[in-house]
Amino acid sequence: MIRFLLRRLVSAAGIVMVVAATVFLLFYALPRDPARAFCGKLCLPENLKLLRHEMGMDLPIWQQFLAWAQGVVAGRDFPGVGRCEAPCFGYSFAKGEWVTETVLDRLPVTVSLSLGGAAVILTVGIGAGMLAAAKRGTWIDSLATSLSNIGGGMQIFFVGPLMVFVLSDTLGLLPRPRYTEFGDNPAKWFVGLLIPWIALSVIFYSNYTRLTRSMLLEQFNEDYVRTARAKGMSRRTTFFRFAWRGAMIPVVTQFGIDLGVLLGGAIVTELTFGLHGLGELVTQAFTNTDLPMLLGITVLSAGAIVLINVVVDALYAVIDPRVRLS
């Protein structure tokens, strides 16, 4: 297990580096000049030259990338700005802030949004799936299945504003989405994110309902479960002893992917609800031609996606001991 994890982590780091290099190259393909972008209204040649030097843009691209990578591992000095300790993701000239600090400042918003959303999605999705499987063939089953189908056809920027309009502006049931630090006021944190979470779950839960339902039904038909039932074990016991393990594998796979999508898709979600997380930060970085910020966030999200995959693979082994890690 440990050897497996180590090997996967090393390859994950490799993937993240390649992603970083790709974004770096891509950025140079953009028809814009980052130094010119921050030089401002009265950009004197002297300003431009100084900025290029401060941004490290007077070096060849590959050296710039190496300097960036070195900063992440060992820290880096920025002329005109100061020393940046590892892990240093650079200095944002657009904001006049260290990238690492800014990202850490925004991270809690995106994490709360994604993980909280994921929790709601799982609860609603698996719950509805279990219900549908247990009441198979009844109207409850049909209802759960149809609702999940409809949810799957929705888009966050359609459901989101509608929910805000109906739930908070018109009915006043919930406050408008707003982020409060968990540490400041857990209750406010929870209530403020409730609408985004529900909106996300409307869209994402359908897969879990479907997966849970079909996998459970499949498991109920498996020989070992039938044997257990025949031996007089109650349905409930068979479910909690055996059936869930088999049913969980595809759910975990799906969850791993969706978590990545939630993190990577934070852009639209945050813009829809006006939350100031990494998604908003990255759009600002893109429109401002803010390479260090863009790179930092991309690497972070890519790292998260890759890590989630490793965790999912490891979870397979935990859930189902028959799975061997290779």
Binding site: L26, A29, G152, P161, P250, L271, T283, T298
Partner: protein, 324 residues
């Protein structure tokens, strides 16, 4: 994006004497939801394909501002129906005053065209890479695998936003005027380039298992060329996963294209676009709800039906999951 539960590779051993395709077709026909949704989805494609004819019959086109005079001083159509009338079936577009029905019809045409082209493109790349990696194995497989790893690790929305201006600038120099086809082509290219990895990975694993089957072994032993094995033995057995993957991809791409419109990197207002209507509807819906409702409802129906049709196809291709 969601995962797709793939059918087991179709067994080539069928006793009754019917081809697997015919058996699947028979099963599909028995699924009433699936058949209904097939017709609904097909209707959307027919609308898209015949949009100019519909325009002729309806007597209006998508770019003239017929309803401009009916807008109020702030550019809103008459409430509460958003200007719906026998003349304007689905109302008038706020601001510019174009006909919403025509916007929707031509918007569906644009969006479905992009999604369809991108689906075909990414399936072609996915099939090629998947077969190459799975069949050739070794180094090809290794490097294809790494490229796929990297692509799947990209934060998808961010890369889409970043790639659109890059591809735009590669297609047309900064000094030239921007032709309307440009963004259309860019969107197709970007969606294809970022979308093929998932399909390639799934198809590769299918090819891997096929490669070990007796009938492939037999073909190899009998001295068949690799091309023959790929095209005559492996590809025919990949059709069901390919169809399932494609039906799963298309509605996702329709949604992604709409998302790009929302982020402001989609098509401009001179080209009718389903995704952008949606987005503008979100801005105007407080006082002009129908303008959001029609594109929203149409997209909901399309995606739900297309998904249900996809499910039905999968069930038909893979009897094991039938009836669950």
């Amino acid at each position: 994006m969601a995962t797709v539960v793939l059918p087991e590779t179709a067994e080539p051993t069928v006793t009754i004497g019917l081809s697997p395709g015919r058996i699947a077709w028979r099963r599909f026909k028995r699924n009433r939801t699936g058949v209904f949704c097939f017709f609904v989805s097909a209707t959307f494609f027919i609308i898209a394909a015949t949009a100019p004819l519909i325009s002729l019959a309806y007597g209006k086109n998508a770019h003239e501002r017929y309803g401009y005079r009916l807008l109020d001083a702030s550019g809103y159509p008459p409430p509460p129906t958003g200007g719906m009338s026998p003349e304007f079936w689905l109302g008038i577009e706020p601001g510019l005053g174009r006909d919403v029905f025509m916007q929707l019809v031509f918007g569906i045409r644009t969006s479905l065209a992009i999604a369809l082209i991108a689906t075909v493109g990414l399936m072609l790349i996915g099939i090629t890479v998947g077969i190459a990696a799975g069949y050739l194995g070794g180094r090809t497989d290794y490097w294809a695998g790494r490229v796929i790893d990297v692509l799947l690790a990209f934060p998808s929305q961010l890369m889409l936003i970043a790639l659109v201006p890059v591809v735009d600038s590669m297609l047309v120099g900064p000094e030239e005027a921007t032709p309307t086809w440009l963004r259309f082509a860019t969107l197709c290219i970007v969606l294809t380039a970022l979308g093929w990895a998932g399909s390639a990975r799934i198809l590769r694993s299918q090819v891997l298992s096929l490669r070990e089957r007796e009938f492939v072994e037999a073909a190899k032993v009998s001295g068949a060329s690799p091309a023959r094995i790929i095209f005559r033995e492996i590809l025919p057995n990949l059709w069901s996963p390919i169809i399932v993957l494609a039906t799963w991809q298309l509605p996702i791409l329709v949604g992604v294209e709409a998302g790009l419109g929302f982020l402001g990197v989609g098509l401009g207002p001179d080209v009718p676009d389903w995704g952008r209507m949606f987005l503008e509807g979100v801005q105007y819906y407080h006082l002009d709800f129908p303008y959001l409702l029609w594109p929203g409802l149409a997209m909901l129906i399309f995606i739900v039906c297309f998904n249900l049709m996809g499910d039905a196809i999968r069930d038909a291709l893979d009897p094991k999951t039938k009836g669950l």
